[in-house]
């Protein structure tokens, strides 16, 4: 009971967090870039985006203080020694201060609008970020604009701009970024206006929110032959173990009124007396497919970096795309530091949901979800198809066997960490020996899984996923199956 409550709580937290993020995105504040979220003349930090500090704000105050102290010092010295010429030295400093004060920046009133060339791209695609800044107030003679952009690699242009803005002038500014998989939030821009001599400054922060999803690349896979024990009522491509309309021969049965005479099995009927037999085909229906992506950091630790995880994410995206294209109902569970559950659904919208969830997938650590022992199996309908994408750990074996025993059709797609890591290691006798040990251990693990009735795809990441899937999980021809050569 306690375990279930915890899972519910964690799932609920994830749900509310997503809801809050959606609300934040749609809030009216997000649509307006006219009113500054924060503004001032001091040296306090802006309301958001502390990772992009405004440079030189404290410097201006220090310079002003230095000049004022020099003026005071010269006045007191001149009076103390009764020397008018020392007092005369104050004049250039006073003029400098006076002119800067006369041209001190007015209140900053800008309209800031941001647009992205695309708010949803796949990895490796560049995105142009365009900013349009209109000065609604008085002229600003020296302005530093800093975009509070997420940490994306800059391909072209700049994320900060030094310029001057006349009253009513509109400045168009753009730069190009690209980046790895993720959900990136652009917030707003910091504006630092000062006089030309840099003694008096004002700053403001304007909202210009946008969100960029960098999705994992989706590779096209050919048909994957899955055969869950239970299917849904809707027609699809999964053999349903039920007779009815279909393509594959299923059996013969007695003719019933309304059956098409085209399906009468004349040979079988000739052997019977007073009975008409017709061919029956296997119904093909949609199925429930639950994808589980292992996001536990320790599963990928042996590979030493996050590249293997990227392979796993790409495999999950490709599998989700394939199963949804075949008309199945697909859900996704990210199992790592916490549970992120994408509720099962059909079609393109579900594909988008799954890709967005995968875009945000990160490796994490949690004591509670350290092992698959706490896998929330009740999220998946009994006897449905479960596809687990994981490099596999030795400790995972009992839970996977248990899943199989509970009636789930389990398919494990396992990017091979041994061969993956081998690529990054120097050749030496010790490494060779260690590799052989690790390889034997893995072979034994996969063998035990197969013995338990779990289908396993041992994916060497050097081979394209489509090729590996087609070879191991593609639908076998009937004659191939009839000869008992089923893989």
């Amino acid at each position: 009971m306690r375990k279930d409550w915890n899972i519910d709580k964690i799932l609920r937290q994830g749900f509310w967090r997503r809801q809050r993020e959606e609300q934040d995105k749609d809030s009216p504040q997000g649509l307006s870039g006219m009113e500054p979220t924060s503004a001032g003349r001091g040296v306090s930090e802006p309301a958001f985006c502390p990772e992009h500090p405004l440079p030189g704000r404290a410097v201006a105050a220090r310079r002003r203080l230095l000049l004022v102290l020099c003026v005071y010092g010269l006045i007191f010295l001149g009076l103390a020694v009764r020397n008018g010429r020392i007092l005369a030295l104050v004049l250039p400093l006073l003029l400098y201060l006076g002119l800067a004060f006369f041209h001190a920046p007015p209140e900053i009133r800008l309209h800031v609008a941001r647009s992205l060339s695309s708010d949803r791209v796949t990895q490796g695609t560049t995105v142009e970020v365009r900013l349009s800044i209109t000065n609604l107030g008085a002229a600003l003679e020296d302005v530093l604009l800093i975009d509070c952009a997420p940490p994306l690699p800059l391909k072209k242009g700049r994320m900060r701009l030094h310029c001057s803005l006349q009253a009513g002038e509109t400045l168009e500014w753009s730069y190009i970024v690209d980046g790895g998989r993720g959900n990136y939030v652009f917030r707003g821009i910091h504006v630092l206006a000062s006089d030309r001599l840099g003694l008096f400054q004002r700053w403001a922060t304007f909202d210009a929110p946008e969100r960029l999803f960098v999705m994992p690349e989706v590779f096209n896979l050919k048909r994957i032959a899955i055969r869950p024990q239970r299917t849904r009522v809707y027609s699809g491509l999964i053999p349903a173990r039920l007779g009815g309309p279909g393509v594959e021969f299923f059996g013969v049965r007695e003719y019933q009124q309304g059956d098409s005479v085209r399906w009468i099995n004349w040979r079988a009927t000739a052997r019977q007396q007073e009975k008409w037999l017709i061919n029956e085909f296997e119904q093909e229906r949609a199925a429930d497919v639950g994808l589980i992506l292992d996001t536990r950091r320790r599963s990928y630790r042996q590979a030493g970096n996050e590249v293997l995880f990227e392979y796993a994410v790409q495999a999950t995206a490709a599998l989700a795309d394939r199963f949804l294209s075949d008309g199945n109902r697909v859900g996704l569970l990210l199992y790592g530091d916490l549970l992120s559950w994408t509720f099962p659904g059909y079609g393109k919208i579900q594909r988008e949901r799954i890709l967005q969830s995968l875009a945000q997938a990160r490796l994490g650590e949690s004591l509670y979800f350290d092992e698959f022992r706490h896998l929330p199996t009740r999220l998946f309908p009994t006897h449905s198809q479960v596809v687990l994408i994981t490099p596999l750990l030795q400790e995972d074996l009992p839970m996977l066997i248990l899943l199989r025993a509970r009636g789930y059709q389990l398919l494990v797609i396992s990017p091979d960490p041994v061969s993956f890591e081998e690529r990054y290691l120097k050749k030496s006798p010790e490494i060779e020996l260690a590799k052989r040990f690790a390889y034997l251990q893995r072979v034994l693990l996969l063998h035990n899984l197969r013995q338990a009735g779990v289908r396993v795809l041992d994916w060497q990441t050097g081979t394209p996923l489509a090729q590996a899937v087609h070879a191991s999980l593609g639908r076998q021809p009937v004659w191939f199956q009839a000869l008992g050569l089923e893989v």
């Binding site: 003026v71 005071y72 004049l91 400098y96 030094h162 001599l197």
Partner: protein, 136 residues
């Protein structure tokens, strides 16, 4: 005459600070030059040179800050802002030299009390003006 050498050394140290990116050197040397100008006047050295030295130090300090502020700006923008900055600085330098020079040449006699009053007025006025920016 020998006082020139420390000042030249200060100038060279400033250049070294610019090269090394030491932000505090400019401020420290401006203070040195202001103190040197005041000291020179106390020692009855040429007032024109003292004034010129102070204004030159002020200009150098300002341009040092400008180069730091525009570091990383696009070349075209940088040129435009530099031009505008120098156009703003030029009247300050001209008027500062002219008014300062005039103040050094002209001799107006008034008592210590009046001088103290004027000095206090200047201090209070300047403080109020700067305070008004913070309150505005």
């Amino acid at each position: 005459m020998f006082a020139i050498f420390p000042l030249v050394a200060c100038g060279l140290f400033w250049l070294l600070g610019l090269w090394q990116g030491w932000g505090w050197v400019g401020t420290a040397i401006l203070l040195v030059f202001i103190l040197a100008a005041a000291g020179g006047l106390l020692l009855n050295l040429g007032p024109g040179w003292m004034l010129l030295g102070l204004v030159a130090a002020l200009v150098a300090w300002d341009l040092d800050h400008l180069s730091r502020r525009l570091h990383g700006a696009e070349t075209e923008t940088r040129r435009m802002l530099e031009r505008a900055h120098i156009l703003r600085l030029l009247p300050v330098v001209t008027a500062g030299l002219f008014l300062g020079g005039a103040a050094m040449v002209l001799r107006v006699r008034f008592g210590f009390g009046l001088a103290l009053l004027l000095g206090l007025l200047l201090v209070v006025g300047l403080s109020r003006v700067l305070g008004s920016f913070a309150q505005r």
